[in-house]
Point group: C2
Chain length 152, copies 2
Amino acid sequence: MDEQTLTAALARAESLCAERGVRLTAQRRRVLELVCRAERPVGAYEILDQVRDGGKAAPPTVYRALDWLLAQGLVHKLETLHAYIGCTHPEHPHASQFLICSGCGCVAELEDAAIAGSLQSAAEETGFQPSRPVVEVLGTCSDCSDKRRNDR
Amino acid sequence: MDEQTLTAALARAESLCAERGVRLTAQRRRVLELVCRAERPVGAYEILDQVRDGGKAAPPTVYRALDWLLAQGLVHKLETLHAYIGCTHPEHPHASQFLICSGCGCVAELEDAAIAGSLQSAAEETGFQPSRPVVEVLGTCSDCSDKRRNDR
DNA sequence: TCAAAGACGTAACTGTATAACGATCGCATT
DNA sequence: AATGCGATCGTTATACAGTTACGTCTTTGA
Ligand SMILES: [Zn+2]
Ligand SMILES: [Zn+2]
Ligand SMILES: [Zn+2]
Ligand SMILES: [Zn+2]
């Protein structure tokens, strides 16, 4: 995320939290910034290392901030990578899907109605009530596919 | 999994491995049995504890067996739970989806063509080539929903 | 029979996440 | 200003998950 987008994202987070009457504290803001600044998903301990520069910190500091940011929908957790990524549209809560490239590590966040619908239908058939759908597709992005093709 | 189903599943695994010309060794068979015998997904260290009874074992023992069983499609890993579960139809390789109940911990394995299709379509739109789709829906199973309803 | 590959034992280690407890901060009420 | 209370934070320790590295033994096929 470039500097300009980052500034905008943080400003948006500020105003969202103000609207909701919740406190985006310095710690939380810092962790959010670190997550968003990264081009790729970042692990909790990577964040911890950066938070440690210029201040003491321990795992719970980071995990508490991440848990709160997750609850606010400002970041997402990628279960398959044990890593975190900034949400691209935190205004409204949503069940998103992720395309994760094993080649370059890039991640695309989708909000695909067809996927959500098919999951909902499958769940309904068995009387299952979904609360948190986790959809993470590992594979190869188009850039990485192209590179491979050129290499041959 | 009841005793009868378990015996059948192990026999099926035996014959599958024979067909494939791979070796279902005693260790692997034991881990498979422990995973299948459990009614719920089991963690690697739970398995380790059980393997330790009557024999020495360390983490690599269990992880090697699990990796092999995963490669053979005899068990699945649930990324959101860091736990393992026996496959309900290991005859053919497949991309399955899981409905995981947060109430009782039960898991249903689906093989839903509509879900797989919508994932494939969404990926194709962006030129992404899926290799391993992970679909795990957390929620409440019908039994647990019923219980809650009755409690009110 | 004799290498080569596969499977296993063992020790140490890295990485991910949580429990528990006390101190502190922000804010409303007295 | 002082009090009280819930939310937040610091700190230590620990639980849980997974890997690296290396040596030994077993199976298998030439
Ligand atoms: Zn999002
Ligand atoms: Zn890529
Ligand atoms: Zn399966
Ligand atoms: Zn249930």
